[in-house]
């Protein structure tokens, strides 16, 4: 036995009475156990016993969905820790931010982790969406999962936006003021919607209470359920999307063949588009260890990146919110700055029509684009038209966001970020 020490300890533990009662199957030693471990464990059972080699290719999926899941977990964990201290009161919230920084053990790092993981989640939702689009992965039978994904994208924005207000500093106050003003531009329901969100006409205690409730219970619960459905559908749709032809590109992955001393057979009833129909079982490998280990490694990587950011960069905290001193310019959170830039040209078109059309188009996309070709490959030539349209929209959104973020100064005037703007003195 030349296994590494941690493995030997683990093996010993899972053979004890207690360990066996908890884990049932220890470290799998045979193909049978490799199967059993996947179906006997609550955490693992959502995944198949065997997984298509294509699904394991990091260059295909980039692990973006998993990264999001991990960010969500990190946000939940750090969020709960922050809730131990936080009070959604305009009198106290800001002071608590200061206390987290100065006297709570690891308070600052936890807040930083939460902040950066939150920003990363918005970013990775967008990247994930791009990946799914460019690989044509939203096509039948995964159309509705794409719609759920769009829903999760909106939920993520909602989670980030509601969390943005909680520190109750100038940044929070004015970003939410600007953000909810954009919502107020909607025709007919705009002002009502804004009133509903804020519990009043301006950002105040009522808004803070509402945003807090949404941020810590409503949106996370909905998001958790939708994530569960999202993942369940991935499983039911046969894992990640891949090209129709079996054996097309699967050989590219290097996996040493496992010992083929099978003394049993896996049987499943399958129909429709589930993975076993017409597939070559040799294209598949056991999820343990090939999938599970990769997932764990990615979790470590995501944790390391978030920790690194949190240790060396502090989450912003400006002055206490002051309703009578708006910063100039007051900016929405970065992911809404493209919208804010559009709104600066026209409140109605930029704040209502464009975002409304975009979300509708995203939701309807899988039902409009019915072509079956080019699924499971990045930038498939058959999808050049769709990819071009998507890329143009994406580039416009990114450019608008960059302009809104870096090129807009006082009174939303044009500034060049690498030039020091003239000192602003309060005019009298």
């Amino acid at each position: 036995m030349n296994a590494p020490l941690p493995k030997r300890i683990w093996q010993w533990f899972t053979r004890t009475r207690v360990g066996r009662s908890i884990f049932r199957i220890g470290l799998p030693e045979s193909n049978l156990e490799q199967s059993q471990v996947m179906v006997s464990s609550f955490l693992l059972h959502v995944q198949p016993v065997k997984v298509h080699r294509h699904s394991l290719r990091a260059s295909y999926s980039l692990g973006l969905g998993l990264i999001l899941l991990y960010l969500f977990l990190i946000l939940t964990g750090t969020g709960v820790l922050l809730m131990f201290y936080y009070v959604p009161s305009t009198e106290k919230a800001y002071d608590i931010m200061k206390d987290l920084q100065y006297v709570v053990s690891a308070g600052l790092v936890i807040r930083n982790m939460h902040r950066w993981a939150g920003h990363l989640m918005v970013l990775f939702v967008l990247l994930h969406m791009c990946r799914v689009f460019y690989t044509g992965a939203y096509k039948r039978p995964r159309e509705f999962n794409w719609v759920i994904g769009v829903g999760l994208f909106l939920l993520t924005l909602g989670l980030s936006f509601t969390g943005y207000l909680l520190p109750w500093d100038q940044l929070a106050f004015w970003a939410i003021t600007v953000g909810t003003n954009i919502a107020g531009y909607a025709p007919v329901i705009g002002t009502k919607l804004k009133y509903l969100m804020l519990g009043g006409n301006v950002v105040g205690q009522e808004a803070l209470t509402r945003f807090y409730a949404l941020h810590v219970i409503v949106l996370p619960t909905v998001a958790l359920l939708m994530v569960a459905v999202h993942l369940w559908r991935v499983r039911k749709d046969g894992g990640l999307s891949r090209p129709d032809e079996p054996g097309d590109i699967v050989q590219q992955i290097e996996l040493k063949q496992l010992p083929t001393n099978k003394t049993y057979g896996l049987m499943e009833l399958a129909r429709g588009t589930t993975p076993q129909v017409g597939k070559n079982p040799e294209d598949e490998v056991f999820a343990w260890p090939h999938l599970v280990f990769r997932e764990l490694l990615l979790f470590l990587l995501v944790t390391a990146v978030v920790l690194f950011l949190a240790i060396f960069w502090n989450a912003p905290l400006e002055e206490l919110a002051n309703p009578i001193h708006p910063p100039n310019p007051a900016k929405a959170p970065w992911y809404f700055l493209g919208l804010q830039e559009l709104v600066s040209y026209s409140a109605f078109w930029g704040g209502v029509v464009v975002p409304g059309l975009l979300v509708t188009a995203l939701m309807l996309l899988p039902y409009m684009d019915r072509q079956r070709k080019g699924v499971g490959r990045w930038f498939a030539r058959e999808r050049v038209v769709a990819n071009t349209i998507f890329s143009v929209c994406l580039v416009i959104a990114v450019v608008l966001t960059i302009i809104g973020t870096s090129f807009r100064g006082p009174n939303w005037g044009w500034v060049v970020p690498w030039k020091q703007p003239p000192a602003i003195t309060e005019g009298h």
């Binding site: 590494p4 200061k98 006297v103 690891a106 764990l296 490694l297 400006e318 002055e319 309060e426």
Partner: protein, 462 residues
Amino acid sequence: MNDLSVRRFYGWFTVLGLLVGVLVVIGYYRDEYRGWKDYQRKFIQEEIRRASTPQQRALAESTPVQIRQILLSDLNRVDRCTTCHLAVEDPTYGGYPQPLAYHPLHEQHPFERFGCTICHRGQGRATTTTDAHGDVPHWDHPMLPLQYIQASCGQCHEAADNPAAPELARGQQVFEDSGCRGCHKLNGVGGVIGPELDKVGARRSPEWLKKHFLAPASVTPGSAMPPQKFSETNLEAIILFMLSQTGESAPGYYASMKVIPSASEGQRLFQQKGCIGCHSIGDKGGKVGPALDDVGLRRPPEWMIQHFRDPQTVSPGTVMPRFGFTETEARALTDFLLHLRDQKVALSLPSLMSPAERGREVFRKYGCAGCHGTDAKGGVPNPNAKTAEQVPGLIYVADGYTKDELKMRILKGQREIPALDAKRPPPPLYMSAWAGIIKDSELDDLAAYLFSLKPKGENLGF
């Protein structure tokens, strides 16, 4: 299961596991290491060094290294300054270098009641030197330089008669004398040409204020304000007074001593409450009650205080009504009467003054001197004004106006000042409309004062 790809997983687990481990250790160290702990250990070492008995030594050694804070719930403040400044209450640390120096104890301002930042400003919740001292981005209240510390007295106490804050009183004097109110509103009184000053002390730094007084346009481009010529002491005093105007009001207990009982406060009360109607000082005033010039010789202070609270209890049958003076007011009035014993006081009672004398006070009250010059002699620059690029003096108004015309002009003001050169920017200073601000009686007195300014024996006519 020991094939190559699985082995490679173990390699990656080791690398990433170590990376996360290292980051956790770094995070823990950065969180655990805090500068204030060093200061506390130094303090404990010093305490151990100074210990002369084993008990003292044991006590010093058992001092915990922990955050110290003063919770001030009424003020919504938490001052953690004593986390580093551990010896503020220990006189034996007098002369020690910071952060271990002793803070002379203020008997009326015990630390546990007042904390530190209410006077010194800075960021009480912070526990690092730079953040706590507050000169950092996104913190509006950096520590007040010690030379301006008296500004903080003005937050709770009336500026003028705080015997412990002479600089503050001087600053207020300079403010009123210089006619700042002609353009600026403070506590609701003043003009509208310049911005309100109610919160200026919270917004501006001493450096900014200094530049503002000496060369207003250098900090506020296009400012209409004429540069001020203050002496060095007056400049510092008015900066200090400005810094005291934070617009924050201390609650409850802290506001209870707004007025500090003093002779001058007593004098003001004496004039305000109409005591002179019955009593006389220096042969001026009523004859119903006794003259008060030497009452300090006849009555002990305790008697006088009780007399002010309830006259019947010390002199039964007296006709003096019970005015319901507060403890502080009774004390101030007593101080004033005791002060009379030692010194003659010239009362400035409006009822005893001539209209022109009262008008002079009005001229001062509304800051007219800010533009029209001391004693209305003019000389304040107003670039591009037709009147010799100056705000005109007012000593000859009696020649150009009737009293009614003059009063109308004060009430209506003059927004457009004729320009010398139409191509240049219009004159920045203009005459505010004082209607609604100045009282009718004050306006009458002011007109009388301005008419009285015409030099005697001159009647040039226009």
